[in-house]
Symmetry: D2
Subunit: 392 residues, 4 copies
């Protein structure tokens, strides 16, 4: 049994920086593991994030609501509850090895996009919450919401537990899919009971920090109080529209050239800190070394060095031993801080045109889809796409 | 005890495609682990490569010769032999779980670059070989040699074991650091006793395949026989000079935008196969999903699907279930085959100017360096660099 | 004596599209001629623009106010009035050869930036206006103003002449240097007496069209009436801040990679037309073939083909005769409409970081400067620049 | 009557640098003039080049052989001879205003590509030569040849005149279209009687200089003597294959982003000079300011300043007077020498894939084509193109 740790709110109230973890789906997929389900594989990844400095182990329950699992066409012999319980146990086991809390998360539902009622949608969140309560997670996150209305419903459900609640939307500075500004979203979430608000996924770190700044301004203008969190992509996305990286032509299997370096992460960590954000983590694309870079940038403020930093020289110091003197010359901060790394892809552009037909919740094109795309549907889709492009 | 498996030469003689693994140093560093030493961490990575289709588990003994370890400034309480024995055990344990062989590897030595004698250099290889024989690896690889002379010495030592010997140089189409062409290198290695020859590391896949083609032409012109191997970087390096990616300004901590997609790997696997190469793997930058892509591209020829492919739809088929129809429209081969992915970095170039002062073995600038760079030395190095640039 | 032509307002009121010309300074500099002064050289360029479809010959009097000429350190034996008279004669001579009007232009003054009084600044405009009246130009343009206040003063002076007055500011969607929005700028200019309002210079075509749209919205919201004009750069400037291309590191001698193709101009002409702009021309970077492209795009609406188009096949039709069939295959609209032309510069980025210290009118750094930069001043400037960059 | 000037050979023998002019077709097309024919328009351009430092006025007779004119589908009422005579008069008139010689040029013929006999092809050159002799040009250039065989025929014809003969091929380092190396081409041309050899068009300056260096090595190895010339494109073409810029997808109407800056020209001039080339000029894409940059770079060696440089500050010195201090800070050589200019086109790549089906002289696809492409032919061509791409 691990000793009683400080809770998330206690930490944030005392001015601590809490470092989050990175997204599991993208990282595990690159390791050759399936996208969801109870297995030992997240184990190693939880531990790598912990060693890299994460104080939060999010249960690997992303999109593991029953309606989403059904939606994915899986003919399941195990229930969502079973998956989620196993995920909680894994996260707890690793968290107990270090200074980390376990967070249980819920996210947006296909039911909402298909215009199901508030009661229906809340029932889904409640089912997931039951597991988190049974497993006694340390706090709760309602994350990855494109519509503030659904995020508020989630917060209202999670709030009933008495656990601390964080709420994080996958929006950028343009706001939610109905055009509600980040500031207004934040105000509604705080009023619903979220103690921590912020954004995650969909945009690159600097864009996300900008959106959280707008949230903070909104909350302060409304004379409310909150803590702030940010868990962005580890991909550069200057070319996204309001719907984020999913609409980029490279999503999800050609995002490599957009991956942030560890030096980009230093900048992101510093910028977040300056903006007053104290729960700083990552989402899709984050590998443990990205989290380590955040921990290293904020080591002076936190007075903590992550285990994984023990033999990692800051700012390339390890290169001081390199055989070639011109590589040794890279063992300094201003070299890496100022590098503009080449892509090695001279036939590729630096920005893309996002797709996306400007549709959202309730549109027929987005109704729940339980079967794979048929060849006739594919033909139809390609035609619509052509039309959408020529009218741009 | 696993059943007796077919050996590497037996496989290649029968026309099988043997899939190698990826490099460990870069992959483990991103997971937050130290760069070398006996630990449990390579375990998970070996297993991920195995699941992704690798038939070869290389012992994680890269640069683990005693002179290199000393060179790295480590005050070791354990010997190189102990490290290497532990590495062999780990590789064997995972290999026995599937259809994989264990390969013991030696690579170029600081002693050679510092002009030590043939006897001295060979003694280093012999010490490593003793471990591999004690642990009974399945075959041996002399890899990562910049000078064919040293590679020949390594092959001569390894050959004494009676095990199959593969020899792989880290050169491109311009040949070794003394200007010996790939074709001539290959001929000398085959004559020294290597049954498999090829290149690894330092260049991107297409460049490496080109170099191996030149090796094959040389060997055939000399009326010799050999099998061919290639284990390139997973980074695009069109801008390298003959010394490879180490001289790129992005090495080693800002290579992210150069990472190959899985689709680039399909192309690489096909091109290697067409060129007659049958031992196809990877080096620095390879993650398990890159190896899986090789296995998927060559699945028709091999008649084998890797475990990690079981739930990975070929050519993005998994997207057929995506909510957004324009993302579903990406669930097809010609979409991913033709994508030119953006870097998301509009302020970065697509190619860099390599550094490197055109010096190699024996040059004072490259003598063994047991201590870290002093600030005076750094100043000197930066001055030389400035001079080198202005004279370009 | 040429027959009496329709005036600018008469044309615009009847719905005609009036095509402007391009900037002279940049075009003549590339031909190796000095930047200002009475000479025969603008003659050829006026004629090229006329043949390409221009309906307006702007007198080459840009920045030829006495205070600017003095500012340029010129020890002049001829007066600004003499220069301006000669420029009017040249423009008139060519205009009389075709369907073109002569426009006399005034632009922002160093006196304003140095905080001289309204009376002083207006006196400068009046002096230039006297020449235009003597030479009886067809209409007047107050162009290239960064501050709406000064533009209003110019309009008030020009208005006294009874000639039609157009007012064009060098601002983008962010508005003037004091933060006045494009819409508010336009309202103030119309109220001051301008019959045509718009923007010129400083930004690329699409950015300028966007700014003029905002002007139009402002004017319509204020229930005023005006015609609209746009005369942008022929350089792509997606990376500019509010101060425009002057702050780009490439200004003014490395702008080549940003030059628009003729196909970009087709898009610009169409977009302008759709936005309701009817006086469409160009500024720095425009060559006659760019103007011709505008005329060609709008030929269906205008029912006029420019002389220079007589042997210029639309959309690359001239390539139908090319020897190589793959070049013949480019003789079609959709080829050129969709081309994303490569820069041939793989070591260059696609976007820059603008300089600029966020200062404007009245700031000591911008006071009038009658002497060239001394080496001490250069040192000071480079230090300030370094500071400005590190604080970003 | 102008005073007798030094001839080209006399100049080169005495070690003088002779500066050529730029191409006329591309420059005049951008000014809105037709592509060929007797007119006043080249007049202004000749004069601009002269003022910028050119010592050679090439008669604007490019591709003005009768077979080419016929090929272009022109229903001519004037003969090739008439065109060529008028062109000679224009060049002479301007040359006599300064220190310039008139050069008459012939180039490759459609007849050769269509496999006409040596006699037929030579007759075409002879017809053009007759005009040049009648008009008494100062020297002759056989330029823009892709096949050394035809270039040799041209030299043999021109040689009969007794005038100095220069021979320039449009090839790069890979040699002519039949694979003859630059060195071998040069040897054959010198043996045929050319006193000056080199390359023009098709590739960017640095590539052309490289090819001329190979010519020089070949000539010297054969113990022959010659002078060297280079007249490259003003477009960056790092991505060309052996056939040059015509196969680039941007040819000829989207080459803008590839245009060299004046600073690129300084580098080119210096590199040419270092390589021992003494007749240095330009071809397609060159504007007068590009020629001026060559003259400015070599002013110390030549002791001459071109008229157009009189008010053009070297290395941006004119910016010393700019209002903004950060623009004044650009008034220095190392700023412009090191600039890597952005394209302003983040959705465009930096390199293209050249088209071209690997066919040359004699191939059915390249037979003379007197009519424009029919829609059926276009369909056929597009199909062949698709096939060609998918087999890459």
């Amino acid at each position: 049994m691990a000793p009683v740790k400080k809770g998330i709110i206690e930490r944030l109230n005392s001015g601590e920086v809490v470092i989050g973890d990175g997204g599991f789906v993208f990282a595990l997929e690159k390791r050759g593991y399936v996208k969801a389900g109870p297995s030992q594989h997240p184990h190693a990844l939880h531990r790598e994030f912990l060693r890299s400095g994460s104080n939060v182990m999010q249960t690997f329950t992303f999109y593991a609501s029953d309606d989403k699992l059904e939606n994915r066409g899986q003919n399941l012999r195990i229930t969502g509850a079973q998956i989620n319980e196993a995920a909680c146990d894994l996260a707890r086991e690793v968290a107990s090895e270090g200074d980390a809390m376990v967070a249980g998360g819920v996210c947006q539902t296909p039911s909402y996009l298909s215009c199901k009622s508030e009661t229906d949608v809340k029932a889904i969140f409640k089912k997931q919450l039951d597991v988190f309560m049974k497993k006694n997670v340390d706090f709760l996150i309602a994350e990855y919401f494109e519509h503030v209305e659904e995020a508020v419903w989630a917060v209202e459900v999670l709030k009933t537990s008495g656990k601390p609640v964080a709420a994080s939307m996958c929006i950028g500075p343009e706001g939610d899919m109905h055009g509600v500004s980040p500031g207004d979203c934040a105000v509604r979430l705080v009023k619903a009971g979220a103690q921590i608000v912020g954004v995650n996924c969909h945009f690159d770190p600097m864009t996300c920090v900008k959106a959280v700044k707008m949230m903070k301004e909104g909350v302060e203008k409304a004379r409310l109080k909150a803590h702030y969190m940010v868990q962005p992509l580890a991909y550069h996305t200057p070319d996204c529209n309001c719907q984020g990286f999913i609409d980029l032509p490279e999503f999800p299997f050609a995002l490599e050239p957009r991956i942030l370096t560890r030096w980009d992460m230093h900048e992101y960590a510093r910028e977040s800190y300056k903006a007053g954000i104290r729960f700083i983590g990552g989402c899709c694309g984050f590998e443990p070394y990205h989290i380590r870079a955040i921990a290293e940038e904020l080591a002076p403020e936190r007075g903590i060095v992550a285990p994984a930093s023990e033999k990692h020289g800051m700012w390339g110091a390890g290169l001081e031993m390199h055989t070639k003197p011109w590589v040794r010359a890279r063992a300094r901060r201003d070299y890496w801080e100022n590098i503009a790394p080449a892509s090695g892809r001279p036939k590729c552009p630096s920005m893309s045109t996002p797709e996306g037909w400007g549709v959202t919740k309730g549109h027929a094109d987005l109704l729940q889809h339980k079967e794979a795309t048929s060849s006739q549907e594919m033909k139809h889709v390609l035609e619509m796409q052509k039309k959408s492009k020529s009218s741009t």
